[in-house]
């Protein structure tokens, strides 16, 4: 996304009409990839991430195995079609760096000691990029790992916060991300109130950073509630309409005979 000289805040609101602390519309669903052990698809506005999780499973090559614990392999990748300019497929330095940072966001959360010599593979693919892709990926990965049955201390909820035109905001979209004075990615264990990822591009005063952390904390809690609801809703019992109808018919038939 190109840089712009236009104002990012007009009439006290952001370009897309949001308040400073407001998240974009969020959608979440699990089992997006049926064959994976766990999967999820999450969108924040126009940013869309899909994650598949496999594992714990046998780790090859053997020299990567750790005898006392399992390892986590996290791959963050942007699809070539995710931006208006084609992204060259394959590894990029940015992709490798985000993969590592995201993996570190989950290292203290997963109970890897329970699975010596194995690997949990997390594949995060960004299908559409409009700012805050790594945190969208982390939100989806957290749900996918839960659905796969990977033991964790908590879910991980993540969001971006930053500063545009001197104003502190949450959930940066593409144009805000590219034109921000500071862009901070935060991932947390929401119920433990602990931060597992904190990255920043740009410049902030100490006070501004702490204010942003509070904003991130509040929004991560909101995101956590959505993650929880999306997972639980998928397991809610669907009334078996056909069975109920048949049972009603049988009863009616019995009554008319008897």
């Amino acid at each position: 996304m190109a840089k712009t000289n236009d104002k990012l805040i007009v009439g006290g609101k952001r370009l897309d009409g949001r308040g400073f602390d407001e998240l974009r519309p969020i959608t979440m669903r699990i089992r997006a990839v049926e064959k994976a052990d766990g999967s999820a698809q999450v969108s924040f506005g126009d940013t869309e991430a899909i994650v598949s999780v496999y594992g714990p499973r046998k780790l090859y090559p053997r020299f990567l195995q750790e005898s006392e614990r399992g390892i986590l392999r996290y791959r963050y990748s942007m699809a070539p079609f995710s931006c208006t300019d084609r992204i060259s497929p394959g590894n990029s330095r940015r992709g490798t760096e985000i993969s590592k940072a995201s993996r570190l966001a989950f290292e203290p959360v997963a109970f890897l000691d329970d699975f010596p010599t194995t690997v949990v593979d997390v594949f995060t693919e960004i299908l559409q990029a409009d700012g805050s892709t790594r945190v969208t990926g982390i939100n989806a990965a957290s749900m996918a790992m839960a659905v796969a049955g990977v033991p964790m201390r908590d879910l991980v909820a993540a969001c971006s916060v930053g500063k545009i035109d001197g104003q502190l905001i949450a959930d940066l979209n593409g144009i805000e991300d590219n034109n921000s004075e500071a862009d901070v990615a935060v991932a947390m264990m929401p119920t433990k109130d602990r931060v597992t990822l904190l990255q920043m591009d740009g410049a902030l005063t100490k006070d501004e950073l702490f204010t942003l952390l509070q904003m991130a904390r509040k929004n991560c809690r909101k995101i956590y509630e959505m993650q929880k609801a999306a997972i639980k809703e998928s397991f809610r019992q669907q009334p078996d309409v056909a069975a109920v109808a048949e049972a009603a018919e049988e009863e009616a038939a019995k009554e008319s005979q008897g």
Binding site: A146, M152, R153, D154, L155, T191, K232, D240
Partner: protein
């Protein structure tokens, strides 16, 4: 001679009890109530109050939390979770179905559908004395053979050993193997075996269920049995499943009901080679049995 009479004893299995996972009942029932009490990782369950903790929960001080997505089971003595998904982790005394992947000198390597590989030592696989210096043990079990066996040991690093010295352990001949999520196995077995026995009776198939999520089936109607099992796996957390499966299976052609003669047969299997009779999947060759089948 009627081919039916020459069928090996295992073909019709009615009335014979198979080793079953002991928690089929409770877990099966609880799957039905998933919509009411499912918890996500990190969710608080209860205070410990001196109780024993299961595998899928963790404690912080006095408070107990879930490690995985599942249904909490809280009793006077224990707090645990019935997980909704997860890989199979070998547990001692589990009955599993494994496939031989390597033939070694003093034993076999067995794939038990787990991140952890199992080993079957020759002494636990074969009843007779085997001089490993002279014998090629592939004459007992070869690569690709499917076995119904028991986990005899699991170390803290999850190195696993299996054994054929167990009630009902055997090599599985012919038939097909299928994989389901290991956590769905209790629901597939049902309370006291009710669900799997219904499937067996209505389809006339021989079915062995491994706790590791591998199921072996043989019989003319196995396609229907497979469909029923996959339906249970998909809808394990709904109610009315038993009736739905019963309706699905209905009455199928060619199902032989148990006769008094078949049930009374308890003689050991004679070594037999079926010549000229081609079975669907492969020639069923029966080497002399390595152990005396126990009376079931």
């Amino acid at each position: 001679m009627d081919r039916f009479e020459r069928e090996p004893r295992e073909e019709y299995d009615y009335g014979r009890s198979e080793p079953q996972p002991s928690d089929g009942g409770e877990a099966a029932e609880l799957h039905e109530h998933a919509h009411r009490t499912i918890v996500i990782p990190g969710e608080y369950i209860d205070d410990k109050k001196g109780r024993k903790l299961g595998n899928d929960v963790y404690e912080e001080g006095e408070r107990v939390f879930a490690k995985v997505l599942g249904i909490p089971v809280i009793s006077e003595n224990e707090i645990k979770i019935i997980p909704m998904s997860g890989v199979y982790i070998p547990g001692i005394s589990d009955n599993v179905i494994g496939v031989i992947t390597e033939v070694g000198i003093s034993g076999w390597t067995v794939d038990i559908n787990s991140p952890y590989i199992a080993f079957l030592p020759v002494a636990d696989g074969v009843d007779e004395f085997v001089d490993t210096n002279r014998t090629d043990i592939s004459r007992f079990f070869d690569v690709g053979d499917a076995l119904f066996c028991k986990i005899s040991k699991v170390t803290k690093n999850k190195t696993t050993r299996v054994s054929m010295r167990a009630m009902g352990a055997r090599k599985l001949l012919g038939g097909v193997l299928m994989r389901v999520k290991p956590v769905k196995i209790p629901r597939i077995i049902g309370k006291g075996g009710s669900m799997i026995n219904m499937i067996k009776q209505r389809t006339g198939c021989v079915i062995y269920v491994g706790k590791n999520g591998v199921i072996w089936l043989r019989g003319d109607n196995k396609a229907k049995a497979i469909e029923a099992i996959l339906t249970i796996e998909r809808e394990s957390h709904t109610t009315g499943l038993t009736d739905k499966i019963a309706r699905m299976l209905g009455d199928l052609p060619g199902v032989v009901q148990p006769t008094a003669a078949a049930a009374a047969e308890t003689k050991p299997v004679e070594p037999e080679v079926e010549s000229g009779v081609e079975v669907e999947e492969e020639r069923i060759e029966r080497p002399k049995p390595a152990w005396e089948p126990a009376n079931f």
